[in-house]
Symmetry: C2
Subunit: 237 residues, 2 copies
């Protein structure tokens, strides 16, 4: 059986590295897309921080076409993203909203384009949303909430029959509450880390979904308490 | 009693012109913000189509500060926006998604900044969402659905106590199904125009809300059948 292939957008981030490692360990060909190369991946595609959305899309798609040489991928996982706070009175609300859009929404659309052009029928697409943006207002992180609400909408759109994805695709949104990363530990040193979700829990879930996906178009929230994580379908009607 | 003041972002569009006319007719000082000046408004603030988000924000806020001369506004209404179709396989999906973001989300954030800096306590903020983006996937208009989902999220965020808006503000989202505009009639000449909502219905509702607002943070859908419009609160928990 030929090796399976996955594209991991954000493959050099804290979550992305764990996702890449998990697929590599399971003998998948793993293509990482990020600002910095992830040497653990089978191949790495670079994207520039200062590129416009159109430039990033064209550059990533062109590099990927070369890397694949006509082969299909079986999964596209977007774990790129970031976080910024600020309410509407924040002096940098435009800048932070633009950064959140770039990190979460632009990467999600480009990941969707990758799946549309290069994914095999029946493949898996994973996007990264956020639990707080599904539960109501996010006044202290307005740009973040808008970007993640847009990603949740995109998951629903891509799951529809005429979305432009290959036949029988499955599209799933992962909704972290808080991811246990070195950056988050440094930023919130007094928090209860046992209530945060380890990156390996996300990576294992995503890998398992390539064989047994949850409902197409669903949003899956990761709730961690005392070191145990429950994955809950929080899709709204 | 001093004249009341409203800022209408998108005041030269089909919906915006009706909103401006309605407030002018009711003796409000009406400040229009748009690419083209609306001569019917008390004053017009111009924004450039090629400006970045930061440039547009800074330019609009600077021009408005001069126009107001320290006076407060009683309402901020954003009816800027547009429509673009396209699923994830569309060749111009990035371009159309970027345009939708610019027309709907960037204007909504700048409108929120205006309210934060210049609105009187107890004022009204109106943002323009879209009914389809609340009801599920929008695969044939992916960029539009993402932008409108972000606006819905913004309405919820701005309605919270610590949003950065003045005390006792009311924030409401209008969710059109289809607005009866010359552009929409030209684009869909065979549609049932009696199922579309006239611009005057939106303008009257918005004007009435300045005295009697609906629930803070609510999304109000305009359903028109045989020429009659019902305004339905469709806020999700």
């Amino acid at each position: 059986m030929a090796a399976k292939r996955v594209v991991v957008y954000g493959g050099s981030g804290a979550l992305g590295r764990t996702v890449v490692d998990t697929f590599v360990r399971n003998n998948w060909q793993t293509i990482s897309i990020d600002l910095a190369a992830n040497e653990a991946a089978s191949s790495a595609i670079s994207v520039g921080a200062d590129q416009s959305w159109v430039q990033a899309s064209e550059s990533v798609l062109s590099q990927l076409e070369t890397a694949l040489g006509g082969e299909k991928v079986d999964a596209v996982v977007n774990v790129a993203g970031g976080w910024a706070g600020g309410n509407i009175a924040a002096a940098d609300i435009v800048q932070s909203s633009e950064l959140m859009w770039k990190q979460s929404v632009q990467t999600s659309i480009i990941s969707g384009q990758i799946a549309s052009k290069h994914m095999a029928d029946g493949g898996l697409v994973v996007m990264t949303g956020a639990a707080p943006a599904l539960q109501g207002g996010t006044s202290f992180m307005i740009g973040y909430g808008m970007a993640k609400a847009a990603v949740h909408q995109l998951v629903q759109s891509l799951a529809q029959d005429d979305s432009g994805l290959p036949a029988n695709s499955n599209v799933v949104g992962i909704l972290p509450v808080t991811i246990d990363t070195p950056g988050n530990r440094a930023g919130m040193p007094d928090a209860d880390f046992a209530a945060w979700t380890p990156t390996q829990v996300f990576a294992d879930a995503i890998f398992n979904w390539t064989a047994q996906p949850p409902a197409n178009g669903s949003l899956q929230q990761f709730n961690t308490t005392a070191g145990n994580t429950a994955i809950v379908d929080v899709t709204k009607a």
